[in-house]
């Protein structure tokens, strides 16, 4: 059979070459790794380097036999720790997304309503912490929240409390850390949306006798829905797998799946179970991630 030379020419033209450069990079370094995680999640832990068994066994016959086991997944469902960690991550991610939305919306709304000459500088003040190291911002809260920390010292010296508040190493500290760290991710899409809003619609509602609070709920909020959705995805999805915040601010009771994965990998050196934990987390997040991608593509076009 003879191949048409034009066929190759059409594939290897300049246009496709340009597409291929970033495409192949992402295929090799973003997508391909997941195949290895999936593969190793079916392997067994062994004392060797690397610490997992091979799925293909080359015996005497010319065909390898496949030795895959679902033991790691069965293990995740048999030990209540893992189920609890997934549920607790969902709860923490959900509550902190709502909290971030409420606080982020009032800031984004106020920046968007500020006089035009202030907006640039206010927006930059929102973005600046987002550029600063995540780890450092979480660390800053340790000095404030711990038992002999600055918050307790301040409150006790004013005389509001007599005994120090126990905030450090509780879920409350984790919520504070998450809201603080993810606030800019919520404010930016909301601001982009609120700033473009047609003010005449609000004036029309006011002229027709609608009260400000009702105008807000029936006009402003529905119009900013795409910003709300984008902001919530940007907070909810990464918080589900958050490791640094529960590790540094949370206590021993704070269960989050990102921390469990880290422990399995770095402390227990159980790579197959860590892989199974990652695959299940990915399964939970794949729908939100696809919805986020679709909302972003819509916004661009």
């Amino acid at each position: 059979m003879q191949t048409n030379p034009n066929f190759f020419k059409s594939i290897f033209n300049g246009r496709n070459a340009v597409i291929a450069i970033p495409y192949i990079w992402l295929l090799l370094l973003f997508l391909l790794p997941f195949i290895y995680v999936l593969k190793i999640s079916f392997a067994e832990t062994i004392y060797a380097r690397p610490p997992y068994s091979s799925l293909l066994i080359w015996g005497d016959s010319w065909l390898p036999s496949i030795k895959a086991s679902f033991d790691n997944y069965l293990f995740l469902f048999s030990d209540s720790l893992y189920i609890k960690a997934y549920l607790s991550s969902l709860k923490i991610a959900f509550i902190s997304t709502i909290l971030t939305l409420i606080i982020g919306y009032s800031i984004a709304y106020s920046v968007a309503r500020a006089p035009t000459r202030w907006r640039g500088i206010l927006l930059m003040l929102v973005i600046l912490p987002f550029w600063t190291s995540f780890l450092i911002r979480v660390y800053a809260w340790i000095g404030i929240l711990k038992t002999e920390g600055l918050l307790n010292l301040a409150l006790m010296s004013i005389g509001i409390i007599e005994k120090p508040l126990m905030i450090m190493n509780t879920d409350l500290a984790v919520y504070i850390g998450i809201v603080y760290s993810y606030l800019p991710f919520m404010i930016l899409p909301l601001y982009a949306n609120l700033e473009k809003m047609d003010m005449s619609l609000l004036e029309a509602a006011a002229d027709l006798g609608c009260r400000p609070f009702k105008t807000f709920w029936t006009v402003t909020v529905p119009l900013s829905l795409s910003g709300i959705i984008a902001g919530c995805f940007l907070v909810f999805i990464p918080v589900m797998g958050e490791f640094v915040i529960p590790d540094l601010l949370g206590g021993s009771e704070t269960l989050m799946i990102g921390k469990v994965l880290w422990t399995e990998f770095f402390y227990n050196r159980d790579w197959p179970v860590a892989s199974a934990v990652a695959i299940l987390l990915l399964a939970i997040l794949v729908v939100p991630i696809m919805l986020y991608q679709r909302s972003q593509e819509k916004a661009i076009s």
Binding site: I21, L31, P129, F134, I136, Y139, I237, G241, V244, I300
Partner: protein
């Protein structure tokens, strides 16, 4: 209608206090004489001096700067191409997968990216070190660059590019002479964003680095686990200062560019 009321002022004051007080306290206590982080013992810069003596921190800082410089440069090139592909190449085969691979790394939990990238390096018997951290950083940074470039590309008029192509300019020359100067502010801020993302990353670096390639965030993390010390405050303050300077420079470049465009339009 009242546009900017007391509620707005209140929420801005509370919001910005919440965002900035922790960072200001962190910086303040880096100049504290006392070893106790919560008791003020007078002004001193001794923790910065101590930092200069700490070989572990200096080594980690050097590794981090090298990784951040190389990864942000390559990520900017790849990300700019990706942004171009997303906006100017129409519907090609596999576009949905491509845009999925651009958007997913931005929200994907870092533990998943770190673990998966590491497992691939191990399976392919690639030794872990500066090289593997750099590869991992390029991959997630290029997605941010792609999105920044893409939003700039979709907001400018394509007629200049078309005119150049009609007059017989090759696509590559058109890109260098017309497109690149227009999107340059986005490319520069993409580079700065990649640089800081790489500078900040703890989780992905922890998975993909090997012996001898401890990055600064990894070093800080291991110090934080042992407790709060003024030394950590000092190194954090330096990092915050570097990033703040970078962001302000970037915004000044952007503003200047805008003014130049306005000027040329008026003459």
């Amino acid at each position: 209608m009242k546009k900017f009321g007391s509620f707005n002022i209140f929420s801005l004051i509370v919001g910005f206090s919440f965002l900035y007080i922790p960072i200001i306290l962190l910086i303040l206590f880096s100049f504290n004489e006392s070893r106790l982080v919560t008791v003020w013992g007078g002004f001193s810069t001794k923790w910065y001096g101590e930092l200069l003596q700490n070989q572990g921190i200096k080594d980690a800082a050097w590794v981090t700067i090298k990784v951040a410089f190389v990864s942000s440069t390559i990520a900017t090139i790849l990300g700019t191409i990706a942004g171009l592909v997303m906006t100017r190449f129409g519907n090609f085969k596999g576009r949905t997968l491509f845009s999925g691979m651009i958007y997913a790394p931005m929200v994907m939990p870092e533990v998943i990216i770190g673990l998966s990238t590491l497992l691939m390096f191990v399976a392919l018997a690639i030794d872990r070190g500066i090289f593997t951290v750099t590869l991992a950083h390029i991959t997630f940074s290029m997605c941010y660059v792609a999105v920044v470039v893409q939003s700039r590309m979709s907001s400018y008029d394509d007629s200049l590019t078309e005119a150049a192509l009609d007059l017989g300019c090759t696509p590559f020359r058109t890109f260098i002479l017309i497109t690149l100067p227009i999107i340059l502010p986005a490319v520069i801020s993409g580079w700065l964003l990649s640089f800081t993302l790489s500078l900040d990353d703890l989780v992905i670096a922890s998975f993909t680095s090997g012996p001898g390639s401890t990055t600064l965030p990894m070093k800080i993390y291991s110090m934080v686990r042992l407790g709060v010390t003024p030394e950590i405050n000092a190194v954090s303050t330096i990092l915050v200062g570097v990033v703040t300077l970078g962001v302000i420079t970037a915004s000044l470049i952007g503003r200047r560019q805008k003014q130049q465009i306005l000027k040329t339009q008026h003459t």
